[in-house]
């Protein structure tokens, strides 16, 4: 009946197992597959990332020079990062913080980075093979 008592005493005498989040935040490990971002200056708009993506969340328009990425369909697997021949895709070591609305990131081929945020309703997405 008192088999748990040694555990209780041990736990009372040692330091806490929990962290006082949000006052103490654990630093992220390196090489964690976090948020994806594209350095559009290096991007050649070849479209390989869009072909290889398992969840079909990237759309590349080579003629118009546009790279569209659906944040909420991405599963952060990192296949696009490995496949990119221009090495312009990277993953940060922190995950996205919560957002208030569904957003898609659209980047254009321009010297100056222009990020447009549009709020999209899910049914209108035209990623064909996406389930």
């Amino acid at each position: 009946m008192f088999k748990m008592t040694p555990n209780i005493i041990h736990n009372l005498l040692h330091k806490k197992a929990t962290r006082r989040y949000p006052k103490v935040i654990r630093p992220a490990f390196e090489n964690v597959r976090g948020a994806l971002f594209n350095e559009v200056a290096k991007c050649t708009f070849c479209g390989i990332c869009a072909i290889k993506c398992p969840s079909q969340c990237i759309l590349v328009d080579k003629k118009a020079g546009r790279w569209t990425y659906d944040l909420f369909a991405c599963v952060f697997c990192g296949i696009c990062v490995e496949a990119c021949p221009a090495e312009s895709l990277h993953q940060k070591s922190a995950y996205h913080l919560p957002l208030a609305g569904r957003e898609t990131i659209t980047l254009n081929r321009e010297p100056k980075l222009k990020i447009e945020k549009t709020t999209k309703i899910p049914e209108e997405r035209s990623n064909d093979a996406k389930d």
Partner: protein, 358 residues
């Protein structure tokens, strides 16, 4: 004696995933059980028509959240078998290390849920505290806590450096000490024994006839573990399956507890045998033919039947998960139990319904 039909619903505090059981009860003793599935059916097998065989690895990992690496490994093994690819020896050992880590985290999750099922919440928290350390190891070495996504056709995507291995071993030593400290609390406590000994007994012949797999079968005396097949570097490691003979819930929890300790020892052996070399080879071509690939998931024997026809989409992918085979065994265990024992018995087969109904 009045018969009542009680629905043991899809939502229940003890289940990690929804499963519906219609229990025919006579005066609190169960006489018949009829299961109903289909609450999380996502139709993932049908996605082979839409995704090519390399993108299917990411789909297949997400069949189950707890044992995701095993699904990817079984799939990659099947495709490598079809395309006659031999993966480098270092990547075989790395795959074994990560799958044993998965087995540890899955069994710790189950041990916590099992303690919670008879109300022992503080023990539940203790087991999950140890599990957090294992998930930290996963995150630091592969990039993600649960869906690790390290397998590709032809090897693995990430490598382990020497100081990562040292860090891993020190964390696992801490985990082993903590788990052994909890052994008397789980296995020799009077209340725990009263709730689990003699409940849900599955005798050996019945377990064999109903097709039970994994710890459910090993606790009834059938010494069968797919790791004895020696896939993916397991033939280089010393390994004996953990077997008990009683066949009740207590025996099943003993089997899983000892398997955690055994997995930690297997990881130590694998790290000591690791050789230098490449981790991935380039893959060209398309698979053709049919193959059957089996590995040992934490819950039992996982089977993949892959049929390919030379194009980049596979023809048919059939996944048979161990919980699918253990549900008929559950139907053999429940008659004769009291109604209040049902949560403990159902949880003792380690039901993973999202695997069952991909």
């Amino acid at each position: 004696m009045l018969k009542t039909v009680i629905p043991f619903g899809p939502q229940h505090p003890v289940f990690p995933e929804p499963l519906h059981l219609k229990l025919v009860v006579e005066d609190e003793v169960i006489t018949e059980v009829v299961p109903a599935l289909g609450f999380v059916h996502r139709g993932l097998e049908n996605l082979v028509h839409l995704r090519d065989f390399q993108q299917m690895i990411q789909v297949v990992e997400r069949v189950c959240g707890i044992c995701s690496m095993m699904h990817a490994m079984c799939f990659c093994q099947g495709i490598e078998d079809l395309m006659r690819i031999e993966v480098p020896p270092r990547s075989k050992l790395l795959r074994v290390i990560w799958s044993e880590l998965h087995r540890i985290h899955s069994h710790l999750l189950w041990l916590g849920l099992f303690a919670d099922s008879f109300g022992f919440e503080s023990l539940f928290m203790q087991f999950w505290k140890i599990r957090e350390k294992v998930l930290d190891i996963n995150e630091a070495t592969t990039g993600n806590r649960v869906i690790v996504s390290v397998n590709v056709v032809g090897g693995v995507r990430r490598d382990l450096s020497a100081e990562q291995m040292k860090w891993m071993l020190s964390n696992l030593a801490w985990a082993e000490d903590e788990i052994l400290r909890l052994e008397t609390t789980l296995l020799s406590d009077y209340t725990v024994q009263k709730r689990t000994i003699g409940k849900g007994v599955l005798p050996r012949e019945k377990a064999f006839e109903l097709g039970a797999v994994g710890p459910t079968a090993r606790a009834s005396g059938i010494a069968q573990d797919m790791r004895m097949l020696g896939y993916s570097a397991l033939d280089q490691l010393d390994f004996e399956p953990v077997v008990e003979t009683d066949g009740d819930c207590y025996a099943r929890s003993r089997v899983r507890f000892h398997e955690v300790i055994q997995s930690i020892r297997l990881i130590r052996q694998a790290i000591s045998k690791i050789t230098e070399g490449e981790i991935r080879i380039k893959v060209k071509g398309r698979p053709e033919g049919e193959t059957f690939s089996r590995i040992e998931q934490p819950r039992g024997e996982l089977i993949y039947y892959i049929k390919a026809n030379g194009t980049k989409n596979l023809d048919r992918l059939r996944i048979r998960t161990p919980t699918f085979a253990n549900i008929p065994a559950l139907l053999g265990m429940l008659p004769g139990m009291w109604l209040s024992d049902v949560p403990v018995v159902v949880l003792s087969i380690d039901p993973c319904i999202s695997c069952t109904e991909r």
